[in-house]
């Protein structure tokens, strides 16, 4: 045991000797959280709209005002004819064009129905889609108010309760996701690089000829990084709370334990990578190229998994971050206890065990 601690101590010295890396490891996640917490949002804001009003009556004016005061749209220009629409899009300035038909108000009041055409720049289908939805909801609200005045009989009212995030804040979705992503990448990169580094400069062989078992050597190397990752997690969590008001509604202790389980799985993934890679560069390409985009895209962080094609949803199961994302959101936002997330926890532990077994098999204990 004493020997083991000596190894851990050696690793801590390594980390301490390189204050730049230490600064990077602690400072970067903080900066990134602060930046992305504000910048990453799927809520549309100030989309440029062009309006072609063929009717120019009081109703179209009312709707236009509603659209422009919603915060989603900002008027780019009023158009005079259909031909102008194409020109406005080609200039690349507008995201959407709205056309009111001739005699809009008359049709609406006399026939009860009027027509609007909504033309979106679908090169970006996500924005196009959201803008169509926003417009629809603004129109619905408008109609609701109009129809209310008419005192309609037999009205079904819909009460809505927004659970877990009453104000629909984007940060509630993205801060937990950011924590997951940063912990995953930092932990996996740290271990894979530092282990391959020992391999590359030949120090691994020295360690392996010591009386320690290979597995002990590796654990001793990983423990300090576990602590570092944990500190990172706490810092991010604290900032998430102080700056973005994201609270932990569940048990903090449970969150910490789950955090350690997740960091461990990421660290063991790093070990696995280092056991395969023959140089730091390869380790880096695998741990970075292999993990960065998949962790961002397939973990329910930015894009909901439920929207993806089925085969891709199956693939997301092999992304450890995907499972931790469920856990962290449940604990932080729903205040869930372990009974709601034990399955995800077991899966993470399963990943860890799997990574350890494979890396022990793969590790070449002998010199070549």
């Amino acid at each position: 045991m004493k020997r083991f601690f000596a190894f851990v101590y050696k690793e801590i010295l390594h980390i301490k000797r390189d204050p730049r890396t230490l600064l990077i490891l602690i400072g970067m996640p903080t900066v990134q959280l602060l930046l992305f917490g504000y910048a990453i949002t799927n809520e549309i804001r100030d989309a440029k709209i062009a309006i072609l009003d063929l009717s120019k009556d009081s109703e179209t004016q009312k709707i236009t005002n509603k659209m422009l005061s919603s915060g989603y749209f900002i008027l780019y220009e009023y158009l005079d004819s259909y031909d102008d629409i194409e020109r406005a899009f080609k200039k690349g300035k507008i995201k959407i064009a709205l056309v009111f038909e001739n005699n809009f108000a008359e049709n609406l009041t006399k026939q009860g129905t009027a027509n609007i055409q909504l033309i979106s720049d679908a090169t970006d289908p996500n924005t196009g889609n959201s803008l169509q939805n926003y417009t629809q909801s603004i129109l619905n609200n408008y109609l609701l108010e109009e129809n209310k005045l008419a005192a309609i009989p037999l009205r079904v009212n819909v009460d809505v309760k927004m659970r877990y995030n009453e104000e629909l804040k984007g940060t509630f979705l993205f801060v937990p996701g950011l924590i997951t992503m940063l912990l995953m990448l930092i932990s996996a990169m740290m271990t894979s690089i530092s282990l391959t580094r020992e391999k590359e400069i030949g120090a691994m062989e020295l360690l392996l000829v010591s009386p320690m078992k290979p597995i002990q050597v590796i654990i001793a190397k990983v423990v300090p990084y576990l602590v570092l990752g944990f500190i990172d997690g706490i810092i991010i969590l604290a900032f998430g709370n102080l700056v973005f008001g994201v609270v932990v509604r569940g048990s903090l202790l449970l969150l910490f334990i789950e955090g350690i389980i997740f960091i461990t799985s990421a660290l063991t993934l790093g070990i696995l990578i280092s056991s395969i890679a023959n140089s730091q560069q390869v380790a880096l390409i695998i741990s970075l190229m292999g993990l960065m985009l998949p962790t961002m895209l397939l973990s329910d962080f930015i894009y909901p998994i439920a929207n993806m094609p089925e085969w891709l949803q199956v693939i997301t199961n092999i992304i450890p971050a995907r499972w931790f994302n469920v856990i962290i959101k449940d604990i932080m936002l729903k205040g869930s206890s372990i009974e709601y997330i034990y399955k995800e926890t077991l899966i993470l532990i399963g990943f860890t065990v799997f990574f350890i077994i494979v890396s022990v098999k793969k590790y070449k204990v002998r010199l070549q």
């Binding site: 730049r20 890396t21 129905t113 055409q117 289908p125 037999l154 079904v156 629909l168 140089s279």
Partner: protein, 376 residues
């Protein structure tokens, strides 16, 4: 000139000697490109709804069947017990639930109005808002049908005249099928070549520092600029090759439209790569170990990616964050590649992008060269 070629030759040899490296460098980006392009959609389908019907009236059944018929919703279960629905919501087995209270229909006819309740998991606020929208529309529809049935013809111009409705026809220009892959593929491809270019350059030079061979290179008569050019050219070629390969694959497999001029596209890519390599070089002059270089590069890469408009639009960011993106080379690159490929923009449309990229490139490379000291 000969010196440069010799260094280029040395670099290529070093790259191709490591089979693992070549594999990781070529296959990983391309496989990711093809898989990940499918992930990036906010288009919602199959929202899961749980129905608590305590009323069992013809109207409540009508509402349920309307949800059943809708393309947006999948009914995950129904019960007369609200607790059960709460539990489903908490266990993530449903996205929202609808509660139709006891005597819903009776109250409707007695009081002329009656309430139903929607409870929505709002962790993803945008998704929740849309779910509410869709659900409310369905209920409104059922309401209208009911009105039409129950209002007597004498008084009732109501159903046709007073209930106003607006038909919205949505047109999707430039991409009628709303295929999001066409939007994502160019962006992801740019990210992948940037990451490869950035990391390979920064690590390559730091590695020579770390194992001490940089000093051997420094004592040779090779000039500083020759060394730098010799080191960057191989990665430039590789990056461009990867870019081309990715485009061909994207075209073959996903039939991504390619409206603009390929020459223009490759010119932009060529300029952009000099910029990327310049940043890599600059980072390598600041750092001593591969570990440091890696984390520093990673830090900037993540910022470049998430603030480029690739996944979430730049316009949605707060103004100060939008100002930061003005210094993000990736943003200009992704914008111009999307414009050229998807909208067929010509040189005059992306002129400004190109000028900015050239400006950045000159700046980064000069800084790197100034900061690179060829001495021990």
């Amino acid at each position: 000139m000969r010196e440069i070629f010799l260094i280029i030759q040395k670099e290529f040899r070093q790259i191709f000697r490591n089979k693992q490296m070549v594999g990781a460098m070529l296959f990983m980006p391309l496989i990711q490109l093809l898989i990940l392009a499918n992930a990036a959609t906010f288009e919602m389908k199959n929202l899961r709804i749980f129905i608590v019907d305590k009323d069992f009236s013809s109207l409540s059944r009508k509402i349920t069947s309307k949800f059943e018929a809708s393309n947006y919703f999948i009914i995950t279960g129904n019960s007369t017990n609200t607790k059960k629905a709460e539990d489903f919501l908490h266990k993530r087995e449903t996205d929202l639930y609808l509660e139709i209270p006891l005597d819903f229909e009776k109250n409707l006819f007695r009081n002329n109005s009656s309430n139903v309740q929607l409870t929505i998991n709002a962790i993803d606020g945008v998704k929740a808002a849309m779910g509410m929208q869709y659900a409310a529309n369905i209920i409104l529809d059922a309401n209208k049908e009911l009105l039409q049935k129950h209002t007597n013809p004498g008084t009732m111009n109501v159903s046709t005249n007073i209930i106003k409705s607006i038909n919205v026809s949505n047109l999707n220009w430039f991409n009628e099928e709303m295929d999001y892959k066409t939007f994502m593929v160019p962006g992801i491809l740019v990210v992948l070549i940037s990451v490869i270019g950035l990391f390979l350059t920064s690590l390559n030079i730091v590695r020579e520092k770390e194992i001490g061979t940089i000093e051997q290179l420094n004592v040779t008569p090779i000039k500083k600029y020759q060394l730098i050019i010799g080191k960057l050219v191989p990665f430039w070629v590789l990056g461009l090759f990867l870019f081309g390969l990715g485009l061909v694959l994207a075209k073959l497999l996903y039939n991504i439209p390619f409206l603009g001029s390929p020459i223009l596209l490759f010119t932009i890519a060529g300029i952009y790569l000099t910029l990327v390599l310049g940043i890599g070089l600059l980072i390598s002059t600041f750092t001593e170990t591969q570990q440091q270089a890696m984390f520093l590069t990673w830090f900037f890469t993540v910022i470049f990616i998430l603030m480029s408009g690739l996944f979430t639009a730049v316009e949605n960011m707060p103004n100060w964050a939008q100002n930061i993106t003005l210094f993000n080379p990736l943003r200009y690159m992704i914008e111009s590649v999307r414009m050229v490929m998807l909208k067929g923009s010509g040189f005059s449309d992306v002129k400004i992008h190109i000028l900015i990229l050239i400006g950045f490139s000159v700046l980064m490379n000069s800084l790197a060269v100034l900061n690179y000291h060829k001495r021990v």
